[in-house]
């Protein structure tokens, strides 16, 4: 028998109506990076919350260093050296970094008046931040940091608690490629220092890059544990999905039709400069680049959210001025924001109400909304996109990430658009939903839609795009055709550009 630092056996957890976990097991060796994978709803998050003491299992046993333990609350788990870095970074945005790191285990003057020792905490915070490769001022407010930085702070927090076991829940979900690399370096460093890491992810690339062993959950069940070298990617996907996903990127080559959109010399000071490109019917135009390269801002400019300083936009050959989203929609441009929950959906509304929101005028007669029209329209869209729900009257709030994304797309389709700008359309959704999303995009393209797809995920960009634009620091630095592009070429141009820029600075 091997020595496990952490072992869980027969863990079952039931919520009203759902069995979230059914007798699953898991073990963690000292000094390993163990990936826990599964689609959304596989029970990963519940499982993590059991390890970290947020939930208590209905059945099952937890062994820490061979001793049986049970955590009544998150504090107890933390005291035992288990630190969790949650998916939606759980931080205090209004408070300083130091506050965030030390809340719950502050340095306190033990003699005389018991006060917080701010100087000592600031100094320690600085030291820890330096350790994770980030020299931010610890008095900075947490909410002002990028997500990547916030994650570093969370890791620093775990270090300050002298954690031995790090649980990271989808840590790369919100990071760019570059930031992901940095995170991986830190994770590797933690491992070298003897920490054990549970790495939860559904990004297959990440898993193969970082993990030593892989455990797969599906629908609350334990599927198996493998050494990384013994599990092929195809098998992994199969185990995760429980079915064969034949092709992840089904984009067929089609002949591009008429020109839908032409951008000429679009500039916005300090954000992007001299952007020119065109988009044709049936085409998927991939736009990639690091976050901060101006890609999302460009999309928002085309959609009229932020005004541009210079440049022209032509739609089907005619010059247009787009200064607000309503105008953009009228001209046939739709925009799927990156943060769909915040910007794309009204969560407490039903699927139907969300879908028909932009076209509510056309479904009304004499100012009265015809509910039957609304229902038919929503149903048609929901079926078209295979939104999984009991009915279109279900609240969007309860849908999975993938299905929410479909609702946002349905909303765009209902509005009779020609040009769709999709910002990270598959971010944070699982493999199955991702494949479905890609299929939808292909169908739309073949129906004559022109699609601009912004993505940080290399396989998606390579697999889905007819043409690819690479942006860097607000400029398009390269354009590739589908046939000529390789992953290496894209990385090469971005890296060269970066080196070059750093050289001149």
């Amino acid at each position: 028998m091997e020595d496990y630092i952490l072992e869980l056996k027969g863990i079952t957890k039931t919520f009203p109506g759902v069995k979230a976990l059914d007798a699953v097991k898991f073990n963690l060796k000292a000094g390993e990076i163990h990936a826990l994978v599964g689609e959304n709803g596989a029970g990963k998050s519940t499982f993590i919350k059991i390890i970290s003491g947020v939930y208590q299992p209905d059945e099952g046993e937890i062994f820490l260093n061979g001793e049986r333990v049970s955590f009544k609350n998150p504090r107890e788990a933390r005291m035992m050296g288990i630190a969790t870095i949650y998916q939606n970074i759980i931080c205090f945005p209004d408070m300083s970094i130091t506050d965030n790191i030390f809340l719950g285990h502050e340095y306190i003057n033990n003699y005389g008046i018991k006060r917080l020792l701010w100087k000592k905490m600031h100094d320690k915070a600085k030291e820890l931040l330096h350790l994770v490769g980030n020299d931010i001022d610890p008095e900075e407010k947490m909410g002002n940091l990028s997500i990547a930085c916030q994650q570093m702070v969370e890791i620093a927090k775990a270090l300050s608690q002298e954690a031995k076991i790090f649980i990271m829940d989808e840590p790369t979900a919100a990071l760019t490629q570059h930031e992901t690399e940095e995170l991986f370096n830190i994770v590797k460093k933690l491992k070298e220092d003897g920490a054990s890491i549970i790495f939860v992810s559904h990004r297959i690339e990440d898993i193969y890059k970082i993990a030593d062993r892989i455990t797969v959950f599906r629908d609350g069940n334990y599927i198996g544990t493998w050494e990384k070298s013994q599990l092929s990617r195809d098998d992994l996907i199969k185990f995760m999905a429980g079915r064969e996903i034949t092709q992840l990127f089904p984009k067929k080559k089609i002949n591009a039709g008429r020109e839908l959109l032409r951008i000429k010399g679009l500039s916005k000071k300090g954000v992007f400069t001299d952007i020119s490109f065109s988009l044709h019917e049936g085409e998927i135009l991939g736009v990639t680049g690091l976050i901060g390269s101006g890609r999302s801002e460009l999309a928002q400019a085309i959609f009229g959210i932020h005004p541009v300083d210079a440049g022209m936009i032509y739609i089907q050959g005619k010059p247009v001025r787009i200064d607000n989203p309503v105008k953009a929609m009228k001209l046939g441009i739709g925009y799927l924001p990156e943060d769909r929950q915040k910007q794309g959906l009204v969560l407490p509304f039903s699927i139907m109400e969300n879908i028909t929101l932009p076209v509510i005028e056309s479904l009304s007669q004499r100012g009265w909304l015809r509910q039957s029209n609304e229902y038919m329209k929503a149903k048609e869209m929901a079926e078209l996109l295979q939104i999984k729900a009991n009915s279109v009257l279900d609240k969007v709030y309860f849908l999975s990430g993938g299905n929410q994304q479909k609702v946002v797309i349905a909303k765009l389709l209902a509005a009779k658009l020609r040009i769709l700008i999709l910002d990270e359309p598959t971010k944070g959704i699982d493999v199955g939903a991702k494949a479905a999303m890609h299929e939808i995009m292909c169908n739309l393209a073949s129906k004559g839609y022109g699609i601009i797809m912004i993505s940080s995920e290399m396989p998606e960009i390579l697999g889905m795009s007819d043409r690819i634009l690479v942006m860097h620091k607000g400029r398009i630095i390269a354009e590739f055709n589908r046939d000529e592009v390789t992953r290496e070429k894209i990385i090469e141009v971005t890296i060269n550009k970066r080196d070059f820029n750093q050289g001149t600075l």
């Binding site: 931080c91 205090f92 408070m95 407010k141 002002n144 620091k473």
Partner: protein, 328 residues
């Protein structure tokens, strides 16, 4: 690239947070100059002292209100608690003329804490939304004040001299009211910035879910802030009745709005999580000026309320615009 943007953020943040204070100071000075030009009496030592004295009660309560708002709550019952505590203390000194003035302070604190604790219990354990719970308690406490007093006033001649003199004496050369306010501010400053519990209040308001996972007892924190708010209102009740030498059932009607306005002016985020002691102090002073100076510049009392509202709004809007400008 990442680093540069962080530095920029830091720089902006520094500028904004400093500016928040400076902006208010600037507005206070500007208003003072305008009023001073119209009525030179305004800028005399005597008047400024009077104004500060009138502001202390508001400033003390605004501090408690800040903590309540920081936890994403609001307390509309504060003026009623003030009145109830003031009335009970008034009746007490009427009956027990020999009672030393210092005892009344403790009675006021005790009554206020008790009222606040009940409100806190309803919010924390009863899970009633703060605005609803405190709206209810506002009427309950005000109603109780009428019931207990039978609608009658306790007038100056019914109060012992020692009680009335309490707020007219000075300690170490500082007016009693101002001394108390300074004391309260020092204690709260220390509590907010230098104790665990103080930080936990901000954590609860900034992100309740994270606070729970961090192991903070949210119910306890909520109970605490409403109790503290109550105790400050109770204290304010004693000070009020002593200063104005009269306890009435409708004392301080509507004061809760001035208290909340002082917090908002002072930059306390109404959605919770953020608020600074210096901001609340400046906000209270500004409200104090607005309340006291308008009669001095011979503005019709009919217009006074409307004008107060306009000035408050203008101050908030100017602050917001300046902040947005700085962020760009």
């Amino acid at each position: 690239m990442e680093k540069i943007s962080i530095l920029r953020n830091m720089y902006l943040n520094l500028k904004i947070s400093k500016f928040k204070g400076i902006g208010l100071v600037f507005f206070i000075l500007l208003l003072s100059i305008i009023i001073g030009l119209r009525n030179p009496n305004y800028l005399t030592v005597g008047n400024i002292r009077d104004m500060l004295l009138d502001t202390t009660i508001l400033a003390i309560m605004a501090l408690g209100m800040m903590l309540v708002i920081v936890t994403r709550g609001i307390d509309l019952s504060v003026a009623s608690v003030l009145a109830l505590s003031g009335m009970l203390v008034g009746l007490f000194v009427e009956k027990y003329q020999w009672a030393p003035a210092s005892v009344t302070i403790f009675i006021g604190l005790a009554i206020g804490s008790f009222c606040g604790a009940i409100t806190g219990f309803i919010v924390a354990k009863g899970k009633v939304m703060p605005i609803i719970a405190t709206l209810g308690m506002m009427n309950v406490y005000r109603g109780l004040t009428f019931v207990i007093s039978g609608g009658r006033w306790v007038n100056a001649h019914q109060m012992p001299e020692s009680f009335k003199q309490m707020t007219r004496t000075s300690i170490f050369g500082i007016d009693f009211l101002i001394f108390i306010a300074i004391l309260v501010y020092i204690v709260f400053y220390y509590f907010i910035y230098y104790t665990r519990t103080g930080r936990q209040i901000y954590a609860v308001g900034s992100n309740p879910e994270a606070a729970h996972i961090t192991g903070i007892n949210i119910d306890y924190i909520l109970q605490l802030v409403y109790t503290l708010m109550g105790s400050l209102s109770g204290l304010a009740g004693v000070l009020w009745v002593s200063r104005y030498a009269s306890a009435q059932s409708d004392t301080a009607m509507g004061l809760e709005m001035s208290v909340i306005a002082a917090c908002v002016l002072g930059g306390v985020k109404i959605t919770g999580g953020s608020g600074e002691v210096y901001g609340v102090l400046l906000g209270s002073i500004l409200i104090g000026i607005i309340n006291n100076a308008l009669p001095l510049v011979r503005i019709s009392p009919f217009w006074k309320l409307a004008l107060q509202g306009v000035i408050i709004l203008v101050a908030v809007i100017i602050n917001a615009i300046i902040q947005k400008k700085v962020e760009r």
